[in-house]
């Protein structure tokens, strides 16, 4: 890519490392050692960037980036994504009542249903996300408010959580498990998806709760406290204030998905980078035999509306998306690659013109030094 001249000067046989102070030994002459290192004559590669050498690089970059960009863009476009806001801000939205009448104390969850239609069938695995807006999971006070030791199953920290968890550390002298603001604000809406057949019958879709958290998180970073029975292990603790179920009973359907290793919980504990974010909620696995995982048609989303966001002007969304090798739908990468590739290509052309106009002399870049 770069024109270069390998400039090996004489007496480069010396190994610089061995040529330290007073290598000459008994001859106490102060004559400096004649080593390549000390004489600043180490053999050196002296690349010289010139229009001629950079030119091909620009073209090559352009030629590589533009196809990649197009590939990315196409891939991203092929990803099907459906997004629906169910916050219930407008009076006519189905969850308006639930949103308005929210109370922490209500024992029964407010249920609302949202109907929507998928225009296109979703193939392969479909991933169901919930999205929150204007929710500062990356606020410093919030990010800090956890106790990784406790979450790792440390018994000491289970009953005496780190002070970072304040003010969600102890309630009435009993340790909160899991402690901290992040755990306390665990997203606890329940989303159920059913396919509305043309005859009106609801066909409940199987939502898989596993595989949504990082493998290392689930198996190494998060551990339940030792003990055969989770409820016993957590007996000296209380659940966070805003929770409805204790930590050992987060997933009644699967006993292995309870306690700190509950995947919904783990996903929530990985704090988002930006105030508008999405988190993986469920996976709708591809059905063997069926043409598409979610055929086009109308669907009904049943929401157990437990999570208030209006107080901080937030929004809640449900997102259905397929996934490609590059992750979820993200046109940015494709566009960026195409842009940068085109710029490189364009610059290449400009440089070529310049190079041509001002003669070829600068293209012969190998200059002996």
């Amino acid at each position: 890519m770069m024109a270069s001249s390998y400039n090996a000067k004489e007496e480069d046989g010396h190994h610089p490392g061995s040529s330290n102070h007073g290598g000459t030994g008994p001859s106490s002459s102060k004559k400096p050692d004649n080593t390549a290192f000390k004489q600043q004559r180490l053999p050196a590669w002296q690349p010289i960037l010139t229009a001629g050498t950079v030119l091909p690089a620009f073209f090559i970059i352009g030629l590589i980036f533009i196809p990649i960009g197009i590939g990315l863009y196409v891939t991203s476009n092929n990803i099907k994504e459906f997004e629906i806001d169910y916050t219930g801000v407008e009076p006519d939205s189905p969850c308006y009542i639930c949103a308005q009448n929210f109370s922490w104390n209500s024992t029964t969850p407010c249920i609302c249903t949202v109907n929507f239609t998928l225009q296109q069938p979703f193939e392969n695995n479909v991933y169901m996300y919930y999205g929150l807006s204007n929710f500062y999971q990356n606020h410093r006070r919030y990010v800090k408010s956890r106790d990784d030791k406790q979450l790792n199953g440390d018994l000491n920290n289970l009953e005496d959580p780190s002070s970072d968890c304040e003010p969600y550390r102890k309630i009435g002298g009993k340790a909160v498990a899991p402690c901290g603001a992040i755990a306390n604000s665990l997203f606890n809406d329940t989303l159920d998806l059913s396919y509305v057949e043309s005859n009106g019958t609801l066909n409940s879709i199987d939502l898989q709760r596993k595989g949504i958290a990082w493998w290392t998180d689930k198996h190494v970073k998060f551990k339940n406290p030792a003990g055969s029975n989770l409820s016993v292990a957590f007996q000296n603790t209380v659940m966070p204030v805003n929770w409805r179920n204790p930590v050992y009973n987060l997933d009644p359907s699967d006993p292995d998905n309870n306690g700190f290793i509950n995947e919904d919980f783990i996903v929530w504990m990985r704090t988002a980078a930006l105030p508008t974010f999405r988190k993986l909620y469920r996976i709708i696995p591809k059905k063997s035999g069926a043409a598409s995982t979610l055929p086009s048609g109308s669907y009904r989303l049943k929401i157990a509306y437990n999570y208030p966001v209006l107080s901080f002007d937030g929004r809640k969304r449900m997102i259905l998306s397929t996934i490609s090798w590059m992750g979820g739908k993200n046109p940015f990468l494709g566009i960026a690659y195409i842009t940068v590739g085109s710029i490189c290509f364009f610059l290449g052309i400009v440089l070529l013109i310049i190079n041509h106009k001002y003669g070829n002399r600068s293209s012969s870049a190998d200059i002996p030094n």
């Binding site: 610089p16 002459s29 102060k30 004559k31 400096p32 050692d33 000390k38 004489q39 600043q40 180490l42 053999p43 050196a44 590669w45 002296q46 690349p47 960037l49 010139t50 950079v54 695995n125 991933y127 996300y129 929710f135 500062y136 999971q137 990356n138 606020h139 410093r140 919030y142 990010v143 408010s145 956890r146 106790d147 780190s162 003010p167 969600y168 603001a181 595989g211 990082w214 290392t216 970073k221 805003n242 996903v267 988002a272 980078a273 974010f277 999405r278 107080s311 901080f312 996934i323 490609s324 090798w325 992750g327 979820g328 993200n330 990468l333 960026a336 610059l347 200059i367 002996p368 030094n369």
Partner: protein, 1151 residues
């Protein structure tokens, strides 16, 4: 020296009234009614700074006095006290590291000093106490103790010599460890001292300790059984300095006068004042800018935070409640702590590591100067010496060079060329040998009468043999006998070739000035050999092989003001003669005028030929005259105060009415490659000023020989001669001349310049300016203040438009004045002084960079210099190659450091807009800490040590490349702005690139999402790679070290990230980065975005490099290489002889 002369100038406080009185052997006297034992300090030398107990507090205090360290300490304390986003470790660890390393280094140095002190203090010395010899530890010596020192021992304290084992009451010492002069110096016992020191009762009255090594005034009162005490004067010749070594003398006894920290050596021990380089000033300025950026960032964030929090629901949503403590805190206090927190969060923008790296670069970089074998001089078996590494880069910024002439431009290797006796020229030629060794070559005018009278001739040669302070070298008795053998041998040989004979060479002469040796050797060639000085008797071997004896009565020492020296001797026949030699200007007014004219012609011709001329005169002293002179001299020498002035008066009085005998011409050869060096330096855009004490003609011819003045150079002369030309008042004439020259050199010059650059080669007239000492002092200290300023300005402006300036007849202090004047003039140019002698010390200390030449005039210049080189020719490589490279290296280092920390911190700043201004750090603490210490520090250090953007040979060949970095070119504000904008651009690219990617955080192919730490890690990865690759792009010289360090630190970053994220660290509260890095790498999108952003960031840089190329140095480099391949290199003989003989006629001065 300088300080003292300054003091004198300022009418200083020299007249100290307090003397100290010392009782020799601690005896009390009946004469003095009360014996009060005076309090003097003991003889303990303490050069160490710390003790075990005070090391920690004192060292810490010293270190935190540095503004940068203090800043980091404050940041650290804020982190400890206030609840800040990053743990105190992140800034505490680097600070601790820096402080510890510095403390260890200083501690070690101090330990070495302790060791050296102990060695000195605990060594045993013999002290005579009550007639017995006792051994004492050196530190227990008290003032007044009589100390015995044997041969080759160093003196434990400053002693007054009382007794010597030599018969003539002298002893020889060498002061090599004090001032580097390795010749043997003779010191004398105090006259009239009894042999039995036990019965000696005397007091010494002397001045309080002062650091001048060559000055001592004292008086000894000797009491002899109720007689009136005899008083003897004491001078520096009686004082043996601590640190000097006794030579050639079996033992001596002396009384301690100054001990311990009051010895002259200890008083001279103080370090030099620190010089600061331009780069350092630039760093400080940039630092200020960054500090402002930092503060404004923190202010902006704090303000926005409170604006943002004012919106309902934002400050404390239900999911993120404040702790009780936070709620209770006062709003303003909270604002203040928030501000501090932001400061802490962004403090990495000013990195501790920059100071460490800069220091390391300077320290390690200076080794390349010491290691350079091109600086090695086989003659003295030494290479270059670096006394301070702080100024490496300043070597690349020099605009004015002030050089001494003798010993610097010339070799100070004197050779007797010819003499002129009574107006007849005698020239010695090695080839032709007439009977008596003379070869008379003179014009046809003198053909008939070829020689002066034989009597005059011999008198002249005797004068040469007697009028000097040369010693004959005699290291041991054996050598002396050998020496005698030699003389015997010589007897049988033709005289004129003696000088060339090896045995004769061996019996060398030692003198403080090489001129004297040359003269003595010259006389030897003509048949008069100086045999030596023994107990005040000078022996010379005359042409008839007879030994003549002269009693040396007085030596009227040489001094630069009088510019002459004399001896008074008494011959066997009882005649008292005064021989005097000195500069023509100081001799001519003191001799009979009719003799002058004949000789003046020769002297002037010799001077224009570039020889150093001395005139020799003599005078018969009658008995009365001598008695008067003798008394005057003794009196003056006894004076405790104003001794020098009084001596001077007597000298002037004695040295009058003399008869002029003749003149000598001594050639001082040009240094090797002096002309080439000067040409290169001028080609590099430096202005060379020659400051010399020598006379104008000699100096001018040296300038011609060095190529400083060219044939076509028009000389503007401002000397006593031209000033007195008009016959008017000097000052009026000065004004007139100055304005005339100014018109010529300054006002008329610009149009030519504007006419186009080629005018430089054809049209523009070169000017050379010559000024002498007296004229300069008129310029500098004119009668009225306004005039003085006007003259100074005119003078400076003229000088700035001249290619070379010659200042002759300068006193050392005037040299410093000139340097200071130029240093402080508009634009404050960087000055460099180079010299070899003690008279150059003042200007070496004054200039930005002081360079000492390891010459023949002792080591004082070397000791006071910043860099010392063996020869003048080494200056070229030192400046053009080393200086240039160091400057480029450190300038790049500084810019790069600021840049890399700006784009490091900018994303963190931008992230605040997305996290509710909560001071949430974007990067993990480990990354914050390690970024500057490990990930990005080594490549830039390697760069700043090994970079050669243009190879050394090429730099040396093309001096004009030097001017490309002149005036701090690489640290200008435009460039700083460019780097800052680059940093901002990179920061924006990093942050927003990743920000857009995180529009959908589901980046893994299994649908899982990334969180904030992944975000930070991606940004950080892009950052580390971009910043390192940016440096790689700038690197023009890839040695294996650069490869190793650049790729190594990237690999290390990856390795470290895996390692850091691969383990649940038990000591960590948060496992934030657990598997974040590995997960990031498992995402194709992350890879793609990293590659894209790195490329996008570097794209403009590559483009700029390419576009800049045609105008950059490389294009020219190529052209020049091509042209030089064509063999256009001017064929210059490596050794240029003195050329000015051809120039001397053409060098027409203006007047």
């Amino acid at each position: 020296m300088l300080r003292r002369s300054l003091n004198r100038l300022l009418g200083g406080d020299e007249r100290r009234v307090d003397n100290r009185t010392i009782y020799i052997g601690h005896q009390s006297f009946p004469v003095n009614e009360a014996f009060i034992p005076p309090k003097f300090c003991d003889n303990r030398i303490v050069s160490s700074k710390y003790t075990v107990w005070n090391f920690l507090p004192k060292n810490l205090f010293e270190q935190f006095r540095r503004i940068a360290n203090f800043y980091f300490l404050i940041i650290f304390l804020v982190q400890v006290i206030v609840d800040t986003p990053t743990s105190p470790v992140t800034s505490g660890l680097p600070l601790f590291f820096v402080i510890t390393v510095t403390a260890i280094k200083q501690g070690y140095e101090d330990w070495l000093r302790h060791k050296a002190d102990r060695e000195v203090n605990k060594s045993t010395v013999k002290v005579l106490e009550n007639g017995e010899e006792t051994s004492k530890e050196s530190e227990k010596i008290k003032v007044g103790d009589i100390v015995e020192v044997t041969e080759n021992d160093t003196f434990p304290c400053d002693l007054i010599l009382l007794q010597s084992s030599r018969d003539d009451g002298t002893c020889f010492v060498t002061t090599a460890s004090l001032d580097g002069e390795s010749n043997h110096k003779t010191h004398y016992t105090v006259p009239d001292i009894e042999r039995d020191l036990q019965s000696l009762s005397a007091t010494i009255e002397c001045e309080q300790p002062q650091p001048d090594l060559y000055k001592f005034n004292g008086r000894m009162h000797i009491y002899k059984n109720d007689q009136e005490p005899t008083v003897r004067s004491l001078g520096p010749e009686n004082l043996l300095l601590k640190g000097a070594t006794l030579k050639n003398t079996q033992k001596i006894c002396g009384v301690a006068v100054y001990t311990g920290m009051e010895t002259k050596m200890a008083l001279n021990y103080q370090g030099k004042s620190q010089k600061r380089s331009v780069v350092e000033k630039s760093i400080n300025a940039f630092l200020l800018v960054y500090l402002c950026i930092l503060v404004s960032k923190a202010l902006v964030c704090t303000t926005l935070k409170y604006v943002w929090q004012n919106k309902p629901g934002q400050d404390e949503p239900w999911y993120n409640e404040k702790t009780q403590k936070e709620k209770d805190t006062n709003l303003y206090l909270k604002m203040f702590t928030d501000f501090l927190s932001f400061m802490v969060l962004f403090n990495f923008i000013i990195p501790v590591s920059m100071y460490v790296t800069v220091e390391m670069q300077k320290f390690l970089g200076s080794f390349f100067i010491t290691w350079d074998k091109d600086f090695f001089d086989p003659e003295i078996q030494e290479g270059a010496l670096v006394n301070t590494s702080d100024l490496n880069e300043e070597l690349g910024q020099v605009e004015y060079i002030f050089t001494d002439k003798t010993g610097t431009l010339t070799q100070n290797n004197m050779e007797f060329i010819e003499c002129c006796i009574d107006g007849f020229q005698y020239k010695h030629r090695g080839a032709c040998s007439e009977l008596d060794g003379f070869c008379v070559t003179d014009g046809p005018v003198n053909k008939l009468q070829q020689k002066a009278g034989r009597e005059r001739e011999e008198l002249f040669l005797r004068a040469l043999c007697l009028c000097h302070t040369v010693q004959v070298k005699e290291s041991t008795e054996q050598a002396r006998s050998q020496g005698e053998d030699c003389i015997d041998q010589v007897d049988g040989l033709p005289v004129e070739d003696e000088a060339l004979q090896p045995p004769q060479e061996e019996r060398g002469f030692i003198a403080s000035s090489p001129d004297e040796i040359a003269l003595v050797k010259g006389a030897m060639r003509y048949g008069f050999t100086f045999l030596g000085l023994e107990s005040k008797t000078m022996k010379i071997l005359n042409r008839n092989k007879d030994v003549e004896m002269y009693e040396l009565l007085h030596v009227l020492n040489f001094d630069p003001v009088r510019r002459r020296m004399s001896v008074i001797v008494r011959s066997r026949s009882g005649d008292t003669l005064l021989f005097c030699k000195g500069a023509d200007s100081s001799i001519f007014p003191r001799v009979r005028q009719e003799e002058v004219e004949r000789i003046r012609m020769h002297v002037e011709r010799n001077a224009t030929d570039g020889y150093r001329t001395l005139c020799v005169a003599y005078k018969h002293l009658s008995e009365e005259e001598y008695a008067q002179a003798d008394e005057g001299l003794r009196e003056a020498r006894l004076a405790l105060q104003d001794r020098e002035e009084k001596l001077m008066a007597v000298y002037n009085q004695v040295e009058t009415g003399m008869n002029l005998l003749g003149a000598t011409a001594v050639e001082d050869r040009l240094q090797e490659e002096a002309a080439e060096t000067m040409e290169a330096l001028q080609g590099a855009g430096m202005k060379v000023w020659v400051l010399t004490g020598d006379k104008m003609e000699t100096a001018k011819s040296t300038c011609y020989a060095c190529g400083l003045f060219q044939k076509r150079t028009e000389l503007l002369e401002l000397t006593v001669r031209t000033l007195e030309d008009g016959g008017r008042k000097r000052e009026d004439r000065l004004h007139e001349l100055l304005s005339e020259y100014h018109k010529k050199a300054v006002q008329d010059a610009p149009p030519v310049k504007a006419g186009g650059s080629r005018g430089r080669f054809f049209g523009k007239q070169d000017y050379g300016f010559i000024i002498d000492g007296p004229s300069l002092s008129i310029v500098l200290s004119s009668s009225s203040e306004s005039n003085s300023n006007l003259y100074k300005n005119l003078f400076l402006q003229i000088c700035q438009n001249c290619t070379a300036v010659l200042c002759c007849r300068m006193a050392p202090l005037q040299k410093a004045q000139i340097v200071k004047m130029v240093k402080n003039c508009k634009g404050s140019p960087i000055t460099l002084s180079i010299g070899d002698g003690a008279n150059d010390v003042s200007m070496i200390l004054e200039a930005h960079v002081g360079i000492g030449i390891k010459g023949k005039e002792g080591r004082q210049a070397v000791r006071n210099s910043d860099y010392a080189i063996p020869k003048l020719k080494h200056l070229k490589k030192l400046l053009l190659a080393h200086g240039h490279l160091y400057y480029v290296r450190i300038a790049h280092l500084v810019q790069y450091f600021f840049y890399k920390n700006l784009c490091f911190i900018l994303p963190q700043f931008l992230y605040q807009f997305f996290c509710g201004y909560s001071q949430q750090p974007l990067y993990d603490a480990a990354y914050l800490t390690m970024y500057n210490i490990c990930f990005t520090s080594m490549p830039i250090l390697a760069y700043s040590l090994f970079e050669q953007h243009i190879c050394i040979e090429f730099l040396l060949k093309n001096a004009n490349l030097y001017s490309e970095v002149a005036k701090n070119a690489m640290l200008r504000w435009e460039l700083f702005l460019y780097w800052t904008l680059l940093g901002v651009f990179h920061g924006l690219v990093f942050f927003f690139g990743v920000r857009f990617l995180f529009g959908n955080p589901a980046l893994q192919d299994n649908g899982q999402v990334f969180g904030n730490w992944s975000y930070g890690t991606i940004v950080f990865t892009v950052l580390v790679f971009t910043v390192t690759l940016k440096l790689a792009l700038d690197t023009r010289h890839w040695t294996w070290i650069n490869h190793f360090v650049i790729w190594g630190s990237l690999a290390f970053y990856v390795f470290f990230s895996f390692f850091w994220g691969g383990i649940i660290w038990p000591f960590q509260k948060h496992q934030r980065l657990y598997f974040v890095f590995a997960n990031m790498l498992s995402s194709v999108s992350a890879w793609l975005v990293i590659i894209l952003l790195i490329l996008l960031s570097l794209l403009p840089e590559i483009l700029l490099v390419v576009l800049r190329k045609p105008r950059g140095p490389y294009a020219r480099k190529k052209k020049m290489v091509q042209s030089s391949e064509g063999g256009l290199q001017s064929p210059r003989s490596p050794v240029r002889p003195l050329l000015m003989r051809t120039f001397s006629d053409e060098s027409s001065t203006v007047i």
